[in-house]
Symmetry: C2
Subunit: 316 residues, 2 copies
């Protein structure tokens, strides 16, 4: 555990834009080192300063390639960008499984881009908890745009909605019906939709289908929504459509500000962060008390999870 004065220095360096310091701070926060609490507390002061863009969609939709394009777009405008890439780690071994994120890594040497991949850590809520902490470090570092790229599972989509200001949902014309079924949840959380690999046949149909599905989600007679999620056809590979996508992301950010929705989302994010914090803390302490005897009592039927859980919590 670093000394207190070192931590103060670390915080100062992060706030001055020092990438090495940010990498160190991020490790401490994500690994929940003892010192993380005071760091997290300080970095939380910067909460809400960046537009957090959550990139989700099924595996194979081209999320990484698109993320690489978005970095390029923001960098052309000299905007400092942070990227958090969630890795589909094996939760049992703890080892990270790195996907093909070459197009993101091409920006790794740009001093205006800070990239970090986060490995899932085998505990429910663990990853999301880490994302909140990591986002605040990047905000403190001065990133004005933070892209959070998920793995592409349904669970992700749920979690990204509690972290991001703007949820970007990526799909392709080629993805089959089975995977499309996973979109049910995305329909509700997506703020901007991308049909990627739009050079493929079926692009117009895919865009029209998606627009149709989004329209159908609204009950008849319901008032028009303040924000109609746009559908943008993009070829992340060639870069076609990426400028238009950037405009929609900006438009959504402006809409959030104008409508007061930005504050509402921030509130929801803070609530979720609090929820994950409590969850992890309690599991750590209460489950620390589950010993071999308790497990044997469960096995023999002497007690049950509800009774034992209540007992452990009373001791809290």
């Amino acid at each position: 555990m670093p000394a207190k004065s070192d931590l103060k220095d670390l915080i100062r360096r992060v706030r001055r834009g020092d990438h090495a310091a940010a990498a160190r701070a991020l490790s401490l926060v994500v690994d929940e080192d003892e010192s993380a609490a005071s760091l997290a507390r300080d970095f939380f002061k910067s909460a809400g300063s960046a537009q957090k863009v959550g990139v989700c969609g099924p595996p194979g939709a081209g999320k990484s390639t698109l993320t690489g394009r978005l970095i390029g777009l923001y960098r052309a405008r000299k905007i400092p960008v942070g990227v958090l890439a969630v890795d589909p780690s094996s939760s049992l071994s703890g080892g990270a499984f790195l996907g093909d994120r070459l197009r993101i890594m091409a920006h790794a040497t740009d001093p205006g881009v800070f990239i970090r991949s986060l490995a899932s850590r085998g505990m429910v809520g663990g990853l999301t908890h880490a994302i909140f902490g990591a986002v605040h470090v990047l905000e403190a570092l001065g990133c004005a745009k933070i892209i959070v790229e998920t793995v592409g599972t349904g669970q992700d989509e749920v979690e990204i909605a509690s972290v991001a200001d703007t949820v970007l949902y990526v799909t392709t014309p080629a993805l089959g019906d089975e995977i499309q079924a996973m979109k049910a949840g995305a329909m509700e959380i997506g703020d901007v939709f991308v049909v990627n690999k739009a050079d493929l046949a079926g692009r117009d149909k895919a865009v029209a289908d998606l627009r149709g599905a989004l329209g159908l989600g609204r009950a008849a007679g319901q008032a028009p929504r303040a924000w109609e999620p746009p559908v943008v056809a993009v070829s992340a590979l060639s870069g076609e459509g990426v400028e238009a996508l950037g405009r929609e992301l900006d438009a959504h950010w402006a809409h959030l500000e104008r409508s007061g929705e930005r504050r509402e989302r921030l509130k929801r994010q803070h609530r979720a962060e609090l929820e994950f914090w409590i969850q992890r803390r309690v599991l750590k302490t209460a489950l620390g008390r589950v010993d071999e005897k308790a497990l044997k009592d469960l096995l023999s039927g002497k007690t049950d999870p509800a009774s034992l859980g209540a007992k452990l919590l009373r001791k809290h």
Copy 2:
């Protein structure tokens, strides 16, 4: 909330094999009705009486069709079967999205089969918590085999390992590399592997690839494992290979018993059930105390999630 005498009657009826009573009990347990605690307590006495087979794998691998085949296999042997199908619900609306589970539903009128779909409920850990309770109801009902079919996201695979005795991982020769990447975690949790749609070209290669990948998972010089996960080629559509799969599932169950691993897995399951119970209970009570003022203090930076979380827990 039902009267106490009604609950006793309900428990009696479930234990006598009454499906209608089981359906009612399951609703109470899953919805966490006030009465659920005493019900869950009673049903937990049956914990460990059935072989719980978790069916996982990517979307489109044919998990539902295979589940239908397994039901048929067990029913031909007059074994009472319970099926819990996890639905990829929209967590925000709470509505369930039913996939094509026709082959499972074909068994819905068989009095020896109890089928229930569980909708994800928007809270982390919520679904797994519900699965534990539901499993115990099915065990009390007398099901000797319980099949838990997941949606096919990475998160599922992690969670299924904490619920199932035997994890059945289903894939197909046709699924692309992107989706294969999601398998990294499955490699470690799968007890039996199925290459489905094995009438397709590439079946032998897929089986060999999978066998190779499973072998590679073992470090050189390591002792041979007590259980070598078999890879079975199956056509769930035609039924080819299903008998052989059934034999492997039986062999795994026998192995668990013989090796003492069954008890170890049951312990792990109980621990996970306890964990989810505690998690949900604490979130309910601690987060019940998060009011508008607390959220405003977070927004204004007067406090932060760690400080506020600690305060809320002290009040617990």
